[in-house]
């Protein structure tokens, strides 16, 4: 009989039978190892959580009181003979790849990752392994990012132009990850940074975790509109098109996402400006990351799995598509409940989850694109 693989794909998530734990499970389990705090990876309802130190406060903010153990990158945790260690994924602050070793066999689960150093998340570190489970959100060759310094030049220039024209500047990005990355790269000589409550809550959680972020000011009902116009507003996708956003008008509205690389996707969002800024690896990033693992086989989860798998096999990798996970293929973008602007208040009607954050607010970049404005 063939040896059972160390990890298997089940309807609850990626499962390690030997260690009796799951990685990023989407149904309640006893023991969960979490790659990062985005909602499509860190679900509520598990008995025990293991994550990186820097995910602690955000997880507690998002999931409420949970039984959470946190570790440093490189630190090991043993579960029934399986050695677990976390390595930086460079996706958002506190994001990790999960490395498992059992009897000399090494598996790595990438979670979400990017290869470019964003200056705020611990940079991605390739980990040698036999089996690599990789995301491929942008696994199409049309997605090729420019260095972020160019993108932030564009953003800062756009902000200056808006100041010059006397219109407010609203920049949209996900509340965990993108918002902080933007915050740390804005030219604060232009003005102050104002934040939507959802982003500020996340900022506060990160600050409690000891992360040093540039100063921000939470927008409240009392914040004078005229002041806000002299600065920049950071807003989550769910705020687009809402009365909350409209009250800042006239404004120019920019959207930061990898999907902005395609004109059609940008036009669909009706954003004034689309900035191609992603927390996921681009095409070359994915291939170089997979190559650097030296893996025997690579399993591709969410993104353009079918296409990317076929290509990897053609260029000599042993790649397999994993359908069961995160909806598979390019589907993820179209999750209906993640429509930004559709539901600002908390809406948990479809689940019995206790959530501190509105569902669909921050499913990570891949999931939230489907929304319409």
């Amino acid at each position: 009989m063939a040896k059972k693989p160390l990890l298997e794909f089940t309807d609850k998530g990626i499962y390690c039978a030997q260690g009796k734990f799951y990685i990023d499970p989407w149904k309640p389990v006893d023991d969960a190892v979490i790659t990062h705090a985005h909602a499509d990876h860190a679900y509520w309802g598990h008995q025990h959580y293991l994550a990186h130190h820097l995910s602690r406060e955000v997880l507690l903010y998002r999931l409420g009181p949970i039984n959470l153990q946190t570790v440093e990158y490189g630190e090991t945790v043993m579960k029934n003979g399986v050695e677990i260690s976390l390595f930086p994924a460079g996706h958002v602050i506190g994001s990790a790849q999960i490395r498992l070793e059992y009897k000399g066999e090494v598996w790595v689960v990438s979670g979400d990752y990017k290869t470019e150093d964003d200056g705020i998340s611990t940079p991605f570190e390739p980990v040698r392994c036999h089996h690599f489970i990789s995301e491929c959100t942008f696994g199409m060759p049309v997605y090729q990012w420019k260095p972020q310094v160019q993108i932030f030049d564009d953003i800062n220039n756009w902000w200056r132009t808006n100041l010059h024209n006397g219109v407010a500047t609203v920049l949209v990005g996900y509340s965990l990850g993108k918002a902080q990355r933007i915050l740390q790269n804005l030219d604060l000589f232009n003005g102050k940074v104002y934040t939507h409550g959802v982003i500020e809550n996340t900022n506060e959680a990160l600050r409690r975790n000891g992360v040093l972020l540039n100063p921000t000011e939470r927008i409240t009902a009392d914040t004078p509109k005229e002041e806000v116009r002299k600065g920049i507003i950071l807003a989550p996708p769910s705020s687009v098109g809402t009365p909350w956003m409209r009250k800042f008008g006239p404004y120019s509205f920019g959207y930061c996402s990898g999907w902005m690389a395609i004109r059609g996707a940008k036009r669909r969002r009706a954003a004034d400006r689309g900035f191609v800024l992603s927390d996921h690896a681009d095409w070359d990033g994915l291939i170089s990351a997979i190559d650097a693992t030296g893996c025997e086989s690579v399993y591709l989860t969410h993104g353009y799995t079918a296409t990317f798998t076929r290509y990897l096999n053609e260029i000599g990798f042993n790649a397999r598509e994993v359908h069961t996970l995160y909806g598979g293929e390019e589907e993820d973008k179209a999750t209906p409940q993640s429509s930004p602007g559709e539901n600002e208040p908390i809406d948990n009607s479809q689940t019995n989850e206790v959530k501190v954050l509105s569902f669909g607010e921050d499913l990570g970049e891949a999931e939230a694109l489907g929304g319409e404005i």
Binding site: M140, P141, V142, Q144, A261, I262, R263, G264, A265, K266, R267, R268, A270, D272, R273, Y304, T307, R310, Y311, E314, G327, E329, E330, E331, K333, A334, T335, P336, S339, E342, G370, G371, E372
Partner: protein
């Protein structure tokens, strides 16, 4: 090309009309006149000649991108635009070209005499010379598809602002078949349009729809409230043919379709009557197929539109005539500022004098006293092979483009059936990478038979939901087409239905579109092929 690439980028970077006009003006002010005319040609749908065929362009783009052809194709489906796909896939470079748009197009035009190998070299060199955005617009030139999200009206507005001519005059002057190589900017903006081309049509006046839904019809009172007394209006049937402008000047005849295609040779039956018209006459009307004095459904005409050669058989099966409803020029004089009634009189006189009343017909006026009466008459539209009724204010001038106020179309409700979605394909442009093009089926016994494709009618939010469903309920894939689990039911509206030998279902629909998503209907309750056949009226 830098300026042209920047123009595209700037237009993409704003959704605001005023800013777009400003961007267009900046462009016009900053580029040489010849570039202005080339840009104008491109933005008004005058496609550049395709010198290199698109298969070759694709093949060489695949080579330049260094990826397998299948991956190129899949990328194209994700991007939904060939020019953009090629630009995204080629290796980045920091080069940039100083050649003007005019120079690029001139070079492109010299390729006609070159060998395939020379063309390829030129293309690969050109790509290597350009940065990403320049490549994108360059590819647009090559592939000849120039939909840029800017209406002709905006371009005209910008041009009017910088030339001090009014928009209607400019709109008229850019009608017809000019080419930027010979039509000069000075000619376009001169005070008097003296050197005008004799083939040049006038801009069409288009009617605004009287909006109503199948649930909510406009009552006679509402019409009265919106349009005033019935006595101020003339009513005609709304014909479903090809809108055309027919010109006789200096002994020459020209037939223009609304898409500004010169279609003179497509309708030889109309030549005798046109040649018999006095010089300096321009008519507006609808070209339809006729048989025994009665108009035939649009699909009969459709069979001959696409043909290069009109065989004797086609001319016999689908002979055309014009139903004229307006006269724009008479005795060489532009009479568009005369009233509708005055122009009608002139038109009637012209028609009375024609020796060819079979091919030069008049759109009959409908007699009515009250709106109530007209609403009733409108109910007979389908029997008249008409789409509804046209209302024209008797005092109206002939205006430019689609405007509210003096011309209204009051269409009848579409026919409709409930159908099941069975295939889906990704869309293009702003619908790229989303499943937006659907094929629908009705029941024939226990089988679902496809009968219509539709692309429009859903809101963006609904499209997202349908897309989500399709991606999770795919049964099979054939190239870009997915077979979808039959489950979702939609109400499909259409303007007409006809027998067809080309379709599996044996019927062909005119203008099918999605009226609404029937969340309330299980697939078993969708309509049947028999119910469609019943609509054929046989």
């Amino acid at each position: 090309m830098k300026a042209f690439a920047q123009l595209f980028l700037s237009l993409d970077e704003t959704n605001k009309t005023n800013e777009k006009v400003k961007v267009l003006k900046d462009y016009f002010i900053n580029v040489p006149d010849t570039d202005k005319m080339h840009m104008l040609a491109l933005f008004t749908g005058r496609k550049p000649k395709r010198i290199i065929n698109s298969t070759q362009i694709r093949t060489w783009a695949v080579e330049a991108s260094n990826i397998p052809p299948w991956l190129f194709e899949e990328s194209y489906h994700v991007v939904g635009d060939l020019a953009e796909t090629m630009a995204l896939l080629m290796p980045r470079n920091e080069n940039s070209s100083n050649k003007t748009l005019t120079e690029w197009i001139a070079e492109l035009n010299t390729l006609g005499d070159k060998t395939e190998e020379e063309r390829k070299l030129w293309l690969l060199d050109s790509w290597a010379m350009l940065d990403g955005q320049e490549r994108f617009v360059f590819n647009k030139l090559l592939t000849g598809s120039f939909r840029v999200g800017v209406s002709q009206n905006l371009v005209i507005k910008a041009l009017a602002d910088i030339s001090n001519l009014d928009a209607a005059t400019l709109t008229h002057r850019i009608m017809g078949n000019w080419v930027p190589e010979t039509y000069r900017y000075e000619q376009l903006i001169q005070e008097q349009g003296a050197a005008d081309d004799i083939s040049r049509p006038y801009p069409f006046f288009l009617a605004y729809p009287i909006q109503e839904t199948s649930e909510k019809q406009k009552s006679a009172e509402e019409i009265q409230g919106a349009l005033g007394d019935a006595g101020q209006w003339q009513a005609e049937w709304k014909w479903d043919g090809i809108r055309a402008q027919l010109i006789k000047r200096e002994g020459k005849i020209f037939i223009w379709s609304r898409g500004e295609d010169l279609a003179t040779e497509k309708f030889p039956e109309l030549h005798p009557f046109l040649n018999a018209l006095p010089d300096g006459t321009v008519l507006d009307g609808e070209i339809l197929s006729f048989q025994n004095g009665l108009p035939m459904p649009f699909n009969v005409l459709q069979t001959r539109i696409g043909r290069k050669n009109l065989s004797k058989k086609i001319l016999e099966e689908s002979p055309v005539a014009v139903i004229a409803y307006d006269c724009l020029e008479f005795k060489g004089e532009d009479i568009r500022t005369k009233t509708q009634s005055e122009r009608r009189e002139i038109l009637e006189r012209l028609q009375a004098d024609t020796p060819y009343p079979e091919t030069f017909r008049l759109s009959a006026l409908i007699n009515f006293i009250t709106w109530d009466e007209l609403a009733e008459i409108r109910g007979q539209s389908r029997a008249m092979i008409a789409e509804g009724i046209m209302l024209k204010r008797k005092s109206a001038t002939y205006q430019v483009g689609r405007r509210r106020g003096d011309w209204w179309k009051w269409k009848i409700d579409p026919l409709s059936v409930d159908a099941v979605m069975i295939y889906a394909q990704k869309g293009h442009g702003r619908r790229a990478d989303l499943y937006t093009d659907y094929t629908f089926a009705v029941w024939d016994g226990d089988k679902l038979v496809p009968f219509a494709k539709a692309y429009s009618g859903l809101t963006d939010a609904e499209i997202n939901k349908v897309d989500y469903f399709i991606k999770r309920n795919t049964l099979d894939k054939f190239g870009p087409v997915r077979t979808v689990k039959p489950e979702l039911v939609f109400e499909i509206g259409f303007e007409g239905i006809n027998k067809s030998t080309r379709h599996k279902s044996g019927i062909a629909l005119r203008f099918p579109r999605i009226l609404r998503w029937r969340h309330d209907k299980p697939k078993e309750e969708a309509d049947t092929l028999d119910s469609l056949r019943a609509l054929l009226g046989e």
